[in-house]
Symmetry: C2
Subunit: 391 residues, 2 copies
């Protein structure tokens, strides 16, 4: 029994997605990468903005003494102060550097938050569809997800969340702009959710946290992403520069805590402590110093917007319906009758790769990513039409 | 109850060390940092070697397309291949890139290993004194440490480890060169340990892993650090560049698995999977590419050797006995009668800061670090003498 039983089980169930991934690679070997319409991976292909390169080379040239050494587990104080300016602007209230804990990406940040707040058996409410890694993140620290459905337009279903609240509810986890639907939850929805949580907290004596996973905050097309920290005192925002600066491999992000959170100091100390003991220790030093100088820089969102429009044309022409994406870089499409796994298999014959909705807890749907060259999107039009005609 | 009970407890018990740390800062404010003999922190003050700066600026200048993007969770394949050369040389057998999983420092690597192998209630045997964070790392993933004592010279006590083996033993964890004693376990000791583990495995049906935490491998003065992977098939080495290249803030390290390990593919897949779900996702991309080009570079160990000699003179003159350090950058000293916590308090009156042995599970001892300028070590001579005269 050389590996943990829970991990052995997880590896077994992960094999479907791995198999798909391997088959995709096989297709690319067979036909050439530019002949395969790979819309499966959420790996930003837009380069970091020029300002990133400027700061990167500047810091490399300086290479200041001690700049690669340890710093407080929460991050460099001056970096936290710089990010507080950004977070204050985005979140509609004034936060200080002390409310920011630098994180090893949003995935690291979510693990740090869960470890800090979850008691064994505690529940975290999520809305389907959702990024399935959340399940593992909560389970890592003794928690479990409680799933509710969204409304048909993929906005949060507040009564459903309300009905799912229990004494074991530690937190409600939301993600906006949303993977895989591209939905941005309106301010009114956030306000309703906050009201439900406050009222539940008053009755039950346990105010649930609202955790907002916001890696796509800066990838928004038509509407602003409303603030979370100013909407509800017991809120925590987790963010990263993976999408906004196209730095997913560098693992740099942060946790921001609402200044009004109960027992503020204990919460911050807990986040700092779990950053340490989970083995993150601190977010990578160099990237901390880079993002501190890039508070308002971001990739050119217009590129994603053009691709989104191109992709919508392709889908419209093929007769595929989808959720209107307001942000992020995904199109979540309804499978025209039948099973999403079978549909994804069918698409493969036309060299189109997507991820079945079942992978997000939402069978009957499929996710396509537009982290690919616009040309590839245009070129996929015929393949989509043919695939739909034979489905 | 806003934070997890286990974290609240841990924060309570951590307050002693935090208090010490804050008092140290207070002393520095009061007297000036150069007037305080701060030997408490293991934060390498030697700058990364010139080769690091060369590769760093080269990569910044190139800033290749896609170089900050996602890569496989195990790391860039070419980086893993490059490190396999280094590991093969150090570990006395041929490993390939597939046996290497890049990690967010050694602390990240140990969490990844524990998550991959520990079932609830599993035990990990450690030898006192030891780096106390290990306890949290194991507990994070449902495991618990079983402590045994070393021999009086701080070499491993093999019969004691043998006696501690149980059906719940998942692993024996060792650290060489050793924090806090500076001990390097001889090849004969490793061979004896391997024999005991093999024999226990044959009888019990469960071969324990041998996990070697080796961040100080390259900080060795008089003897070579013997290989682990060639000594025992079920072994895993965790290493980082925090000390060898003075990059602790950059969180870059790796896990190397013995090619002979049972169920190799499952073990590697488990490590890759836990890297993902614990939220590390991958080791920072840029630092991966930098260390791949610095396979044989390291900081100038002679600097540490000179400091060690200077510090030994100071301690000898003050009449303090210590374990002879063969590697790392610590002097582990016997408190001349009495309590280590009281002794550390007493030293503070002479502006000397150290860490009590109780913080490593070894009361009656104190740890001093020589990650400080040699001048400060020489300058501390009088303070040590006075402190000892009044103890």
């Amino acid at each position: 029994m050389p590996i943990a039983s829970s991990i052995r089980e997880a590896l077994g169930s992960a094999s479907l997605i791995r198999k798909m991934f391997e088959e995709g690679n096989q297709l690319k070997k067979q036909y050439g990468a530019d002949k395969v319409f790979d819309f499966s991976l959420g790996n930003p292909d837009i380069e970091p903005p020029p300002a990133f390169h400027r700061v990167f080379t500047k810091l490399a040239k300086e290479d200041k003494k001690g700049s690669h050494g340890y710093m407080p587990n929460a991050g460099f104080p001056e970096v936290r102060e710089a990010l507080a300016v950004k977070v204050s602007r985005e979140q509609g209230l004034t936060v200080t550097g002390s409310h920011i804990v630098m994180a090893v990406g949003a995935a690291g940040g979510l693990n740090v938050v869960f470890k800090a707040i979850l008691n064994p058996g505690d529940e975290v409410i999520v809305s389907r569809p959702y990024f399935m890694e959340y399940k593992a993140y909560a389970a890592n620290h003794g928690g479990r997800l409680v799933e509710v459905d969204t409304l048909p337009d993929f906005n949060l279903n507040i009564p459903a969340i309300q009905a799912a609240l229990s004494e074991k509810t530690a937190a409600v986890l939301i993600n906006s702009p949303h993977n895989p639907t591209g939905r941005i939850y309106p301010a009114a929805t956030i306000a309703d959710l906050a009201e439900v949580l406050r009222s539940w907290g008053n009755r039950s004596g346990r105010l649930p946290y609202l955790i907002a996973d916001e890696p796509y905050r800066e990838i928004a097309y038509t509407v602003e992403v409303p603030p979370i920290l100013s909407a509800y005192s017991e809120s925590v925002v987790v963010n990263s520069y993976s999408k906004s600066l196209s730095l997913p491999g560098e693992r740099i992000g942060y946790i921001a805590v609402s200044p009004g959170i109960q027992d503020t100091e204990a919460v911050l100390n807990a986040l700092i402590y779990t950053t340490r003991i989970l083995g993150f220790v601190n977010a990578p030093a160099l990237m901390q110093r880079i993002v501190a100088e890039l508070t308002f820089a971001r990739v050119d969102v217009a590129v994603y917007a053009r691709r989104r429009d191109a992709f919508k044309q392709v889908l419209d022409a093929a007769g595929i319906t989808y959720a209107e994406p307001e942000g992020a870089f995904y199109l979540f499409c309804q499978v025209p009758q039948g099973d999403d796994l079978a549909f994804v298999e069918h698409l493969k014959q036309y060299r189109i790769l997507g991820v079945p909705g079942s992978g997000f807890g939402k069978p009957g749907w499929v996710r396509f990513t537009y982290c690919v060259d616009e040309k590839l999107i245009h070129a996929s039009g015929l393949a989509f039409k043919q695939a739909l005609e034979t489905w």
